[in-house]
């Protein structure tokens, strides 16, 4: 069922929902950007419509709401191991379709891969409700259409935000009553981006194989990439983590085991005992990431890992474009035929 609200009424509804749920969405933090005098737009608590910053793309994806940058797995004190208290409050995330598709990719890794789900991820994931924000234009670096991640029907509520009206397509019965109370029935046919300014041609998976590993293409990145890992951190689908123990300084009997985000571009990611590394050249790390995003993941889970949000292109201090890299792979394959 779809409902229309005047914006003030919608804010009243958010206030009501805020009593039961924590609300998160892309929002602006003034003067918090990486560069001086710049703002940071990222996911954070929101309370009303005007808290949502939708004029620019958020630098980071919503993944940290489910997979925190660093997370305590358990505490230890002497011989006892204690699991952390878990916040049970359900949360609503306002997000674009590409980011919801990004979370579906994380689900593949954390819930489907291997014989058992990741308990920390699963617990957080069960608390999440998705309020998908209609997106029909995208941002300048987006190529979600090429990655077939521009649309979704897996939302709880779909929102069209116009200046004078908010329309909501409510899929989840959980929100039906509240929406009916604050809004009036109307029609809403969710729309999705049909064409991005940026188009990417993804190599045909049938033709792609690891002969592309030998290409000189990757050598271009040996010098350009500085292994800062920003692309990994901003990516909604990069899910790798490293486990480390921390001892409390005042009492070495006590501490915790934590996991931290990591990324395949960073030094040390592929190191094994004794110091051997498998991809010392940064171009090989670019190749490893690229193949995962557009080939390996699809082989294992049936969809491309990359959702084409374009954040990695925006954050790279060396102006490396992942979109261009994908196109270069396609050109290489075509040239080889």
């Amino acid at each position: 069922m779809a409902y229309g609200f005047d914006p003030e009424k919608f804010d009243n509804m958010l206030e009501e929902l805020g009593k039961k749920y924590k609300l998160f969405g892309p929002t602006r933090y003034p003067q918090a950007g990486a560069l001086s005098d710049s703002d940071l737009v990222t996911f954070g608590p929101v309370h009303r419509l005007k808290d949502l910053e939708l004029s620019v793309q958020s630098t980071y994806s919503p993944k940290e709401l489910i997979l925190p940058v660093n997370q305590t797995m358990f505490y230890f004190t002497g011989d006892r191991i204690l699991e952390p208290e878990i916040d049970q409050t359900p949360m609503i995330i306002f997000l674009h379709p590409c980011d919801l598709n990004g979370i579906k990719r994380l689900d593949s890794i954390f819930l489907e891969n291997g014989s058992e789900p990741d308990p920390y991820y699963q617990q957080a994931r069960q608390r999440v409700r998705f309020f998908v924000l209609e997106c029909t234009q995208g941002f300048e670096n987006c190529f979600c259409v090429s990655m077939q991640a521009n649309a979704t029907d897996e939302y709880d509520v779909f929102l069209r935000l116009d200046e004078n009206e908010v329309r909501a397509d409510v899929k989840s019965p959980e929100f039906e009553d509240t929406c009916a109370r604050f809004g009036k029935q109307c029609d809403l046919e969710p729309a999705f981006v049909q064409e991005n300014a940026k188009r990417v041609r993804v190599p045909d998976p049938e033709k792609l194989d690891n002969s592309i590993f030998e290409s000189d293409l990757w050598r271009d990145y040996d010098q350009r990439c500085i292994a800062c890992g920003r692309c990994n951190l901003s990516c909604p689908t990069c899910s790798c983590f490293t486990v480390r123990d921390i001892l409390h300084e005042d009492n070495p009997e006590q501490g915790e085991r934590r996991r931290f985000w990591t990324g395949c571009h960073l030094d040390g990611f592929d190191e094994v005992s004794g110091g051997m590394v498998f991809r010392p050249a940064r171009g090989d790390r670019m190749r490893y990431k690229t193949m995962h995003k557009i080939y390996d993941f699809r082989k294992r889970f049936g969809v491309h890992m990359c959702v084409g949000c374009g954040r990695c292109d925006k954050v790279c201090p060396q102006y490396i474009s992942f979109a261009d890299c994908i196109n270069a792979c396609t050109e290489l394959l075509q040239g080889a035929q």
Binding site: I81, I109, G114, P119, G255, R257, T262, S273, K299
Partner: protein, 267 residues
């Protein structure tokens, strides 16, 4: 033993029953633990405060597990200070082991480099206890120097029943064994029925590469060769991403891979 917790990341504490010094750098720890596992699989071993690392099973019995641990970092150097009665923490087992049921009745060639012999110790001991199940077993084990030979107490036993060649790259110390890289000893093996021979190679990647080449030269089929790959798994359950190679996860699909698959995997 406590009941299995719901959270698979929580480790169990196990007392160390015995510590056997293998070399200056390696010790074998026997811990009290009852698990259903295959040789070739690994455990995540940890000490609270010092971190966690994947360690292959080197042998096991009904209520004990042996782990050969090299002193190579923060965690393992701390482990090397422990004594019998202290605890190690474990979770697992993880991954795919050697398909030993496929090995019955034929000729088996085992090639190991350095600490790569440790995960094969249980395999060889298994066949030592079940000698009727194999027609012939050749063991080739290579080490850098005589002082780096692991499993020497086992090697003495293996020599009693199997063709066992222990070689060192560089006999800088007194040494009455063979000298030379381990793959160089493969051509000299007496393999009468290559089609009925199975081989295992475990060690540094470059050793595996040359060993497999020599095994193939002897006429052994590529799908009858298995290798084990070393990666630094942080979870063991296909989540952390450190051990992914193409669309495979060493912790789930390996660490033991058939060569017909492993030959195409590139990091």
């Amino acid at each position: 033993m406590e009941a299995r917790q719901e959270n698979p990341y929580l480790p169990f504490a196990a007392p160390i029953l015995d510590i056997y010094p293998e070399t200056e750098m390696e010790k074998t720890y026997r811990i009290q633990a009852r698990l259903s596992a295959n040789f070739g699989q690994f455990l995540e071993i940890s000490l609270p405060g010092y971190g966690e690392a994947p360690i292959s099973l080197s042998d096991m019995g009904e209520d004990w597990v042996d782990l050969t641990i090299r002193n190579a970092g923060r965690l393992t150097s701390r482990i090397h200070q422990l004594n019998p009665g202290d605890h190690l923490y474990w979770r697992g087992p993880y991954g795919q082991g050697f398909p030993l049921e496929n090995f019955t009745g034929g000729h088996i060639v085992i090639v190991a480099g350095g600490t790569g012999l440790a995960p094969l110790r249980g395999v060889i001991n298994h066949f030592r206890s079940n000698q009727d199940s194999v027609r012939k077993l050749d063991i080739l084990a290579g080490f850098k120097t005589p002082s780096e030979v692991v499993c020497s107490r086992d090697i003495e036993n293996w020599e009693q029943c199997f063709n066992t060649v222990v070689t060192v790259d560089d006999a800088c110390e007194p040494w009455d064994g063979c000298e030379g890289l381990v793959p160089n000893f493969i051509p000299g093996l007496d393999i009468r029925e290559p089609e009925n021979t199975r081989a295992i190679a475990v060690g540094p990647p470059v050793m595996i590469k040359y060993a497999v080449q020599e095994l193939l030269n002897k006429g052994i089929f590529q799908d009858k060769i298995w290798v084990s790959m070393e990666r630094r798994m942080h979870c063991g359950m296909g989540k952390c991403g450190h051990c992914k190679i193409e669309d495979k996860y060493v912790c789930l699909d390996g660490p033991v891979f058939n060569w017909s698959l492993a030959k195409n995997l590139k990091d």
